[in-house]
C-alpha cells in the first residue's frame, strides 16, 4: 500500500496538469513501514526527454542524488516515483516496466486528459532481479482526507 496525505497526493496530480501535454515526473520521499510505503514529501523533478516529452520521461540522476541526500538528512528514504500519462490511461506501459529498476518502490501514474488530472494508480515493483521484476497494482490510501471527513462527522 502507498500512503499519502492529501497535500502530497494533490501535489503529484497537479504537477501533471502543469506540464500537460508533456509528462511530469518526480520522487516520493518517506518511510518503508512493513509492506507499505508512507510518503512524507513529493519532490518535483524535470523531464529531460525533450525529444519526446509527450510520452517519455527521464529524471536527471543529479536530481535523484540531491533528493536522496535531502531524504537521508531528514532520516527518510526514496520510496517511489511518479509521472503522468497525458491523454493516456493511468496504467503502466512496457516502457515503464522496462525502465523500472527500483525494486520494492512505488511507481505512481496519473492520467491527464485534456489538461485535467483523472485517475491516479500506483504500482509496486516486485521481484528480485531484472529478469523476474514485475509491476503489481497497489492500494493508494490518502489519509488526511479520510481522517478529516471522520472528524467532521
Amino acid at each position: 500500500m502507498l500512503k499519502l496525505r492529501t497535500a502530497e497526493y494533490d501535489a503529484l496530480r497537479s504537477h501533471g496538469e502543469e506540464t500537460y501535454p508533456f509528462e511530469c515526473c518526480g520522487v516520493l520521499v518517506g518511510r518503508f513501514t512493513g509492506e507499505d510505503r508512507a510518503v512524507e514529501e513529493v519532490v518535483h523533478c524535470g523531464n529531460t526527454r525533450s525529444d519526446r516529452p509527450q510520452d517519455r520521461y527521464h529524471i536527471d540522476p543529479k536530481e535523484l542524488i540531491a533528493a536522496q541526500r535531502q531524504a537521508t538528512s531528514k532520516g527518510l528514504e526514496i520510496v517511489g516515483f511518479y509521472h503522468s500519462h497525458p491523454d493516456h490511461p493511468a496504467r503502466w506501459s512496457q516502457t515503464d516496466l522496462a525502465e523500472a529498476h527500483w525494486l520494492g518502490c512505488s511507481y505512481v501514474i496519473t492520467s491527464v486528459q485534456a489538461g485535467r488530472a483523472q485517475d491516479t494508480n500506483s504500482f509496486v515493483l516486485l521481484g528480485d532481479t531484472e529478469d523476474n521484476k514485475h509491476l503489481e497494482t497497489e492500494e493508494i490510501r490518502v489519509s488526511n482526507l479520510v481522517e478529516d471527513r471522520t472528524i467532521c462527522r
Binding site: E23, L64, F81, W92, E130
Partner: protein, 93 residues
C-alpha cells in the same frame, strides 16, 4: 576521511539496510570491487554476466557522472562519495 559508497533504496536489502558503506580503493572500479567483496549478492545487480556495469546503473563521484570522466578507471580518494543511482525513466508509449 574514508571513501564511501551511497547505496540506493532498492539495494539496501543486500547491505543489511545500510545506506552508506565504507570501501577501499583508488579507482571507481576497485572501490566497487571492495563493495561487492563485502556484499557479494550486490554484484549481479550492478554488473552484467559479462562484467560490465549495467546500462541503467549511474555512478557518480561526488557530483560527477563517471561516464564523463574515466568511467570505472576514474580515480577516487579518501573523502570522496561514490553514489550508485539506478535510472528513473519510462513513459506512456
Amino acid at each position: 576521511m574514508s571513501l564511501k559508497v551511497s547505496i540506493p533504496t532498492p539495494l539496501r536489502r543486500y547491505t543489511d539496510g545500510a545506506g552508506v558503506i565504507e570501501v577501499a580503493g583508488d579507482s571507481v572500479g576497485s572501490a566497487l570491487q571492495s563493495l561487492t567483496d563485502q556484499f557479494p549478492p550486490l554484484k549481479q545487480h550492478l554488473y552484467t554476466d559479462q562484467g560490465r556495469l549495467r546500462s541503467f546503473v549511474n555512478v557518480y563521484v561526488n557530483d560527477d557522472d563517471i561516464r564523463y570522466l574515466q568511467r570505472t578507471e576514474t580515480a577516487v580518494k579518501p573523502g570522496d562519495l561514490i553514489s550508485i543511482v539506478p535510472s528513473i525513466a519510462g513513459g506512456s508509449a
